[in-house]
Amino acid sequence: MEAHLQHLLNAVVLGGTYALLGIGLTLIFGIMRVVNFTHGELYTFGAYMAYMLAGMMGLNFFMSLAMAALLGMALGALIEFTLLRPLKGADIDTTMLVMIGAGIAMQAGEQLVWGGVAKSVPSPFPTEPVVLGSVSVGMNRLFVLGVALLLLGGFYLLINRTKLGVAMRATFQDPDTAALMGVNRGLMYTLTFALGSGLAATAGALLGPIFVVTPTMGDLVALKAFAIVILGGLGNIPGATIGGFVLALAEEFGAGYLSSGYRDAMGFILIIAVLIVRPQGLFAMKERIG
Amino acid sequence: MSLAFDESAAPILEVREVAVHFSGLIAIASMSFAVPEGEIVSLIGPNGAGKTTAFNVITGFLKPTGGKVLFRGTDLTRLSSNRIAGLGVVRTFQRTSIFAGCTVFDNVLTGMHRQGRAETWGALLRLASVRAETERMRAAVAEILAFVGLSHRADELAGNLAYGEQRLLGIAIALAADPKLLLLDEPAAGLNPSETEAFMGVVQRIRDRGVTILLVEHDMRMVMTISDRVVVLNHGRIIAEGPPEVIRANPDVIQAYLGQGVKHAKG
């Protein structure tokens, strides 16, 4: 019983971070249809920024977090402006290739700047875990979960309930027509990419103090983020959220009760299984034909 | 013009009590009608009446909630859309549908798929029969392009055609598939009256080649001129059925569909 509870708690906490990664990517991959291979690098970037600001410059942790998020957005905006904007109208594979190139260059850049040795971000939270009966969880993890839930809710409202969110979605469904409605296409592209990037960087900055920061930390994370987005259905924020938690549960219980060697495979097995049953993802609709 | 509906002609297509529901929304309540072989039958009705949905059911793109579709006695609702096309039931799409990244010529050539026999092994071994077949098909493509009047655009990328030309190409592709029963979904949309007139000739010639036609169209001049029979759908139910002149005068149809001042509408 105790073990079940602990695994469940672990999964919930982990799921929050997965969901955060998922919604960042669902903006870019799900809504913009850019196969964003820099997502993992932006995550890494956020973690290094948190390290630089909080660890090296000794800034307040929460300040650093906010700044890392902003810097992530800025970097995202820069990538969109310099790399994606000139390719307007190119197909998904072409933009993907550019993003792969950017991802490779960014990872090498990170190693060049920071070296390969892991860095760790100081955390303002006590190392003593919060004990709830027979289970326990780190304070910093609860904080991450809290922030993640806030961001998830906020972005849900932004995308689904605001004029800006509607315009964002409209732009990527039909850029020309959106322009006819008075939408500033360029701004939407940049903004969406920047927001997605900001979320990735935030995730990195939040997780930096929990994990360690290395140039390759984004690789596996990026793959999982893609999986989460698909699990939830493209461009679907509640879907990505649930996808994140489902993946975490599968991993946690798979590793806990089946085999830890297959832990990282659990998510992928789950995805294959889900897509066999529901080819359009868990929470998306089928398209109309004719 | 051919005679009015002939009761004795055997139906090539029979739609029996087909119903389609989309999570709560009833697109087709219950629909039954038959299309006799060799005729032009029009399916008309207000927007959202369920015409395209009916096409989707007949051609296997949508599984109905209930009912059957019989093509020469075979139930189509169990078959995949490509199998249905394989039987000779070919449709066009209301939303323009072409192979945008290929040339106009290749679009039609691809449409001829059903008439080829070459399979993987034949292709890999480059059998003589395969090469001969390709030659034959290329000649046929040129003929079809001439038929719909797109010969001069053969080498253009299909995506670069104007809207009306893309619609014609859509029909050319369907023709290439050598239909027995051709389902046209608003083929004249985007054509002006003269073009429509010319197109009516095209449809009639297709019929004269022995192809049965089921037509969905809002251009009443075209419908009333070329149809042997008209089926009227409203709110997912058939409200009238009969030869054009009868339908034209049916008050229910006028009320639900034709409107009062028919003068503005084409024809």
Binding site: P86, L97, I272 | F61, I98, F99, T110
Partner: protein, 345 residues
Amino acid sequence: MTTRLLPWLFVLVMAVGPLWLGDQYILYVLTSTGIFIIGAMSLNLLLGYTGQLSLGHIAFFGIGAYTSALLSLGFDLDLGGVEPFVLGPQPVWVAFLGGILVAALFGFLIGKLAFRVRGAYFVIVTISFAQVMRMVALNWVDLTEGPMALNNIPPLSVWLPWDGVLPLYRKEYNYLLVLAVAVVCFLVIQRLVQSRVGRALVALRENESLARSVGIDVTRYLVVATVIAAGMAGAAGGLYTHYIRIVDPDVFMFIYTVTMVIMVVTGGKGTLAGPIVGGLAFGILPEVLREVARPEVQWIIYGVAMIVVVFFLPQGIVPAVKNWFAGRRKRVAGTALGLRKETSA
């Protein structure tokens, strides 16, 4: 006529040139690049012609590599039955063919699955498939030795009437072998895509519902394409495993798929020569860069080079060159026409 002879001329140059140079290192680079070019060609069949991006393509390569390695080494498998299943070492060519077959079999399964999922979903299914394969290779230690790797894999061999069976340790032979396999794969793909089957694949890429509406059995052709592509990738994997002579779960690394994608897209997807041109460019580039800069900077240059290619040649290298030639021909024709007009006027 010249365009028909061009590929054969290219093959001739590739067959003779490097051997004549005799530089072992160049041979090594070309051989290992060639193996990946075969992988890229097979990926192109899916990505370029059916429009299905398989980002787990390396799985087929890895399956081919593992199967071929295991068959040539022999293995025993305890499946919980009474008797463990024991298979002695098989002749290398049997193993190699086995690798192709097993990879093709997995291709069949994935192709069937792709019937249900398309586009982005297909991408993720393939990524997931490759990841799962990697985990299996990693964790099924009894069979694959897991991370401890299968090593001492025998090289491929040829039978020569005057020498008997000759194991291919020498680079020259391996190089020629890879070249030969590449030529075969090229011919298969060429014939396929220029046929009715190829048009069906393109139709699937361009507009699936329209394709079905004219009677194209989309699933079937997708399966055919995936099986052939997977078999070729499996062959590349077999070549790899008998050439490098060790195989470990890292053979499923994502970066290898990425390498193939780079080769295909920079060269020009959906063109026959694309993967070859892109493959040579981006297979050799890292070796050139070795001399130029420190390791991290090499990667940065590599990444930037990809971006530059896309920016200047968004369709890829091969279509760009073709357009350039076509444009030149048109200009020449245009002036000729202009002249005639003048004289007639």
